[in-house]
Subunit: 256 residues, 2 copies
């Protein structure tokens, strides 16, 4: 393609997050950039879409000359409204993030950042979600900018197979501290949830969802292992959730 | 296991939906039943969790003698709070639905009903999501009750492989009209979205997400094909979203 790439940038931490400013910086000069991002924090929204409320879209000048909009919906809503209402042509690539916090392993399912990328894959647009293993709102994104840039360039050069996107997680640390990147599979892990039970001023009970992430996967080819060893993890991710290996087994069942 | 199964029932259409009442009916007598379901409609919530708000839990007598609670969160929140706060032991099985409307093909990603089942799989609890291809709030759930019962029994008898759950969709129609069931893969399809653009009374623009579902998959082994032919579709579904077949390909890239 000789045409200038059109790069759609989104995230789930809202347009005001340092992470998306870092991602805009990362892709500068790689093509025409349009940002469509949530107007409020949308962490943990997974692949949610807004069905029962209308969506609002507003132009934003937060990135100066870079065309930008806020949307009142979820990250997936942002991708949909960008493709079908904002952009004059289909984007060449969608980049989402850089998320403040890990989206490795099963976090891919809860992640608004990654759901935006998965939505891109469903739309058959090469898409990447980036996440930094640092929840701090002032986190150091320098290494993220470096890796987001070279991985975006690689996807622009190589394309991505239909139905897939990339889940990229970046460990805390400087570019020199990070050892490189590894292509991985999604680790098996789960949240051992705990609920912090409290009483409101009127005696009513309420709960805060908390918990600890438990890695139950001993594999050395997982994203969790790579990150633990100081590498950026890159997981090719697909929206086909079929457990293909179980189809013949289930065909042997007698369900009646 | 000789112990009586503990069956957790949830959904995304709220505890007041006809679909969940039908599912409670479907599993009657198969074990001890506890319902934990959203207090409001949570359609399209995907795998969203509630991080920035507290959750409320209330006892409900909507199902008479059947122990039931409403939760102010998403379907995935319901599963988490049920496992970690409500139930005295881990459930033997989680059943979710019966959803009013299809969750076949890529709808699995947007679906709160299926996300509850996928959360069960992450927790290593055999789980099934059921959906009827009828959005009507007074839809006829008789065939759904029949299939939900025999499929739940089959899963109680056979178990489900770690990391997997079932996505069951039931066509409209009577038990006699439905031809049986088929084990399928998730079809490739997407929403060709359209936004219905309107003006509010104050001149502000807003958008309703609408659209048409486009089946781009000609396969005869998909859930969409089975449903179209009048069969119940059963898709073994996993939370591992790795595109394993791409790992070696990506390893050949030079990213720098």
């Amino acid at each position: 393609m000789n045409e200038k790439p059109l790069i759609l940038v989104t995230n789930d931490d809202s347009i005001e997050a340092k992470g998306i400013a870092s991602l805009v910086k990362a892709v500068e000069g790689l093509g025409d950039i349009v940002v469509v991002a949530p107007d409020t924090v949308q962490s943990g929204m997974g692949h949610a879409i807004t069905i029962h409320d209308p969506l609002r879209l507003k132009k934003s000048d937060i990135f100066g000359d870079v065309e930008a909009y806020t949307c009142s919906g979820t990250p997936v809503d942002c991708v949909k409204i960008a493709i079908y209402e904002v952009l004059k042509k289909r984007p060449t690539i969608i980049v989402s993030g850089v998320n403040h916090g890990s989206n490795a392993a099963t976090n891919v399912l809860y992640s608004g950042t990654m759901s935006a990328a998965v939505e891109g894959a469903i739309e058959n647009i090469p898409s990447i979600g980036f996440s930094l293993l640092d929840f701090d709102k002032d986190a150091d994104f320098d290494a993220s900018i470096h890796y987001a840039r070279i991985i975006t360039k690689a996807v622009l050069d190589n394309g991505l197979q239909k139905g897939t996107c990339l889940n990229v997680n970046i460990p805390k640390g400087t570019i020199d501290e990070i050892k490189g990147y590894k292509i991985c599979r999604q680790g098996r892990a789960y949240w051992a949830d705990q609920f912090d039970k409290r009483k409101d001023p009127f005696g009513g009970e309420y709960f805060w969802l908390t918990g600890e992430y438990q890695n139950t996967d001993k594999g050395e080819d997982t994203d969790l292992f790579a990150l633990d060893q100081g590498y950026v993890s890159v997981v090719p991710t697909q929206f086909d959730m079929t457990a293909h290996h179980l189809i013949s087994n289930l065909n042997e069942w007698e369900i009646k």
